[in-house]
Amino acid sequence: MLKFIIRRMLIMIPQLILLSLIIFVLAKAMPGDAVTGAFVSNPNATPEQMEKIRESFGLNDPWYVQYGHWIGKAVQGDFGMSFVHKQPVTHLLESRVANTLLLAAVTMIVTYIISIPLGIIAGRWTDTWADKIIVTYNYFAFATPLFVFALLMLFLFSFILGWFPSGGSVDIRIETGTWEYFVDKAKHLFLPVMSGALLATFGTIQYLRNDIIDTKLKDFVKTARSKGVPEGKVYTRHILRNSLLPIAAFLGLEITGLIGGSIFIESIFSYPGLGQLFIQSIGTRDFTVVTALVMISGTAVVVGTMLSDIILSIVDPRIRID
């Protein structure tokens, strides 16, 4: 088991190197660089001045020298300076990483709280009115674009009803650590979380419903019934155990998906997280910030996949690798 985990972790190394190379090359291939981005609002900058700055930042070195420089610092947590914000990228990311992780984690928990019971109800009582309502809701969740739904939520609950704030992560006037601070934070989270979660239920509900319908017909369920196991226990002890297993395994992937999905949500709700920063940085061609962000989300995907593999190998006795 330990051997499997170590091997699985070692596989990550070439994956991450490849990822960083691709990101670096792509970023270099983009039209314009940090200097054009920084001077985009300054029409007086002459090409000579810009060239001088490029030279001083090492932007004229061969790409592999630049890559070596960048990756060497990156592994120490130094992604360089943001040319737009005039401060270290790491410093810029710090508070936002926490915000995004909080948003993603809460969204994921809420998604599961909604989707697992609904998936179970729809799968167990197929073709009842409850199932039909859930399936209809799920089609809407699948078909509705996230940004449209999020805007609608914002419009309805913030502008019309005024129940929730329309942006930010917390009121800066409230002292950190107090009860009020916690409530305010929750209030700010509510709309972004619900917008994401209500649509993200799609995959889990659909998967769980189908898997339960499948598992219901399996022979071992017949065996359980022939033992005299009451119907409720047939579900909890036999069907659900088998059907929930892959969901546990998808957990790692789910969280990376949410980090990716945060781009829309954070922009719409002006939530100060990584996604919002990403959009801004692309607009201003803040090269160092963009590469750092892509590197972080790419790493999250690689780590998430690894976590999924490891979780699956722990929960499923059939996948015991030595």
Partner: protein, 341 residues
Amino acid sequence: MANPVLEIKNLRTSFNIKGNYYAAVDDVSLTVHENEVVAIVGESGCGKSALALSIMGLHNLKTTKLEGQVNFKSQNLLSLSASKLNKIRGKDLGMIFQDPMTALNPLATIGRQIEEPMDYHMKLSSAAKKKRTLELLRRVGIKNEQRIYSQYPHELSGGMRQRVVIAIALACDPVLLIADEPTTALDVTIQAQIMDLMKELQNQIKSGIILITHDLGVVAEMADRVAVMYAGEVVEIAEVRELFMNPLHPYTRSLLNSIPSNMEDKKALHVIEGIVPSIQKLDRTGCRFAPRVAWVPEHEHEESPTLHEVEPGHFVRCTCYKNFHFPEEKVGDESYVTTKS
């Protein structure tokens, strides 16, 4: 004869197909006695498995209609509520399934799966349950029972798993066992082991067994009495020796003649003309086997065929058996024997 443990009376099991109900088991009556193995034999689609599932109450009642009676311990199983039926299933009624690869829960240990019926039907401490489970494992011929107890199904071979499935069925000392093709999915040598094991267990536990199978060899090895089913009906019932020595119904005789090991080598096997009709297209008037023995004149069949007792305990449906002969055999040709001696 010993006391009857199960009496099936006029059982009709119908499936809903596009709004209409079609009977897969059509007016079947059968009695199983204590310490008796009754085999139900027939080809796929004859209704034998539907019959087994009807007794166990394992059909989906939304799409299945059950009529008639299945009397067990002076109550009709068909009219019991789910919770009352659950008090009987797994305790007095045990079931052995066909495919040991799928009949066990892949995520639970062998021990847990054998103990599960005891959870519901016996008041035992967990230590007592474990003791009983280990003993059951030994009884079904598993030697390293301590290890198997905590293993998962995928760690076991097919033959071992089928032994576990049998141990589950025996967990609470059932009065009646229903075995649905218990050896079909197994290799020949494993099949032989399981057959011998079941014969041994039969001697010990004295319960009634309903053995569902398509394999007449398994019938000859294990059954005391045999019911041959065709198109939802029982066409012949007889004590096992009688059935193999003196098969009467044209379907029984055709089946016996189409088994390779039963015929002289290289000699053409008997082929039953036509195909088994689907339950929607089945003509339910007259002799259901008539279309497959087209050379038999119409007047030989009964208009509405019933089971006739031709010898004590030997029943045959329809009258077409009386002058029946295969087209390839001359009438009165004694050299054409159904079983090779």
